[in-house]
Amino acid sequence: MKTLVLKDLHKGFGEGTVLKGVGLEVDRGEIVAILGVSGAGKSTLLRIIAGLEVPDQGQVWIGGELATSGRRLLLPPHRRGIGFIFQNLGLWEHMTVEEHLAFVLRARSKTVDQARIRSTLEFLGLSAHAKRKPFQLSGGERQRLALARALVEEPELLLLDEPFSNLDLPRKKKLHREFLRIREEKHPAILYVTHDPLDVKLMADQVVVLHEGRIIQQGPLEALLGAPSHPIVKELLEI
């Protein structure tokens, strides 16, 4: 069973059409990079998968369950088993690091599994900052808090909207390694948006190129570089 299946998604805002029939399948444990010029509709696509937005037409299947059908939201965001990392993180500025994780866990059960919080913080090197609020964290720590919040529930699917932009190279490489480790240990499917060919080279199994509302090419990096179907594919992927 596929972790995620998208069928013929269409979406417009007012006048313009952003998505014009997008289909995609992602397996468990698979890492997929989405590329496209800015304004191509990458964020919109992730938001539709997460259930934060509905398409005008098309379907979203998550773990074999029909989650969105046309404009109908059949499964609300919090019941989709998705971890989402927003481009600007969307940390809860009024909560401490551990309150972030506790809030996520409490939404599921009455008792909060403290051991789970501790191990997640440990996993991401945030244990020393458990009592701090976001504004007391450095840029990299904020990024890891967003990651911890998305991971504490062990989601089947991780959606990352440009998680690597605004990071220096060492930190970027470290984050790449973290994602690969997460994949080894917990096997979620990971779908991420990026602009940087380096991100693709270092951690993607599959590349999806979104252009003018459609997926114009899809496959492993080497395949795309070997036989680009459109000049823009080369532009986006070549260093």
């Binding site: 938001r47 997460a50 259930g51 934060l52 937005e53 509905v54 939201l73 609300p76 965001p77 919090h78 998705i82 971890g83 989402f84 927003f86 600007n88 993180l89 969307g90 940390l91 809860w92 500025e93 009024h94 809030f103 996520v104 939404a107 599921r108 919040r149 998305a150 529930e153």
Partner: protein, 495 residues
Amino acid sequence: MRGLRLGSWVYLGLVLGFPLAALLWHFPEIQPGLEAFLSRAFRNTLLVASGTALLSLLIGSGAAFVLAKISLPGTRLLSLLLVTPIFFVPYQMALAWDALLPSGLNAWLFSPAGVIGVLTSSFSPVVFWFAWIAFKAVPPEEEEAGLMTAPPGTVFRRITLTKVYPALLAGTFLVFILAFTELGVPTYLGVPVLPYEVLIQFSTLYDFRAAVAASWPMAALGVLLLFLEYRLFRKSLLFYQRAGKPQGLIFSPSPAVKAVLLLSLLLLVFVFLFLPLSALVKEAASFRALKFALKNGLPSLLRGLFYATVAGFLSALWALAVFYSRKGKGHSLMSGLALAGLFLPPAVLATGILYFWNQGVLSLLYGTFGLLILGYLARYSFFSYRSLETAFEHLDPSAWEAALFTGHGPLAILRHILFPQVRSWFFLAWMLVFIFSVNELGLSTMLYPPEGEPLVVRLYTLSVNNPLSHSAALALLHSVGTLLGVALLYSGGFR
């Protein structure tokens, strides 16, 4: 810079510090009327103020949430219509409802419940305004991140509400104060309240001491509230910067629920605005009434607009000076004093002002409109203080610092670099003080100069022994004047 700093302290001293000191100085000769604490008037005042505050909180914040967070058609127009009642003197609303309700229902209107209803229609826009800005300032991403793990109800309680509640409380507090010090509406509707008792002692019995004694419970409560505000809500910014457009499906009820919400908002606008306004128009729409209003009201309308314009300008200027010369110490003392002016009952303020300006050379001002303007400044300078404070918080310091390298003097920098950047806040301050001053009845009745009463006062005195149609025409005249003034200031500040 030194001069500016000194000047802004002198301003505050003359406007608030010395009058309040004079009040304390005369403390021994004033018998605190303890019985007033227990009197019916005091209980009525409390009842009216807390009822109005609670109802305004419910209605204002509910409407603000819907308009700020749920995508509905016509939200801009609806928001504008919902804040509009703040432009009218509450007293007008009482007149309008009196004209509107059949005599059978009038018993309900002429009671504390009626006072609460009328005041809520006038003051809930304050809570609405605070809440709307606060809801807008909650970043949608934080709520969406919440939606990924919890249902909308939980997200609302734990994220949205947690962030906006200081603003909601601050707005509610302000409404409490406004209702607590309201004179016109309860008087018209025959509900005895403290501000009325104080006024009676003053103007009918000329009993200075009794008046101050009757205002002690109000002063005591004012100080208590001041303390509470200071302890609890000092951190809550009165003015937030706008942020974030409503996005995606954050709080997206079904179309049926949306329709119900939209209808309730329309109903609110209908009841709070269109119904009373149309009643006034209907009453006033006779040649005789209009003639009466123009003949009796025009000079005092112009006077009132003039007083309020001057007060608004002076207080905005003062706040600009305060923050332009901001290196000085004592900002918390300054904001505390300015806040005291807002929170103390007008009767107390007026008494202090009368005491202080009634001695020696100072009495040159006594009996002129200067005293009235001082009263407005004392009560409403807090608004301009907070507006300019916000303006300077949002200023990019590097633009200012870059200007310092040019070698221009401080005044040139103020004029060419700084003022253009804080201009809209300056006019917002001017506008706020203008609106509240032009509608201020409590201070005006006690401080207006002979032959120089503003229209609020005239409206109040003339409605006693004139037909309703005449008062309605005067009330409309007042609104038209106020709206014109606001429109002028708005076009000055936000062009």
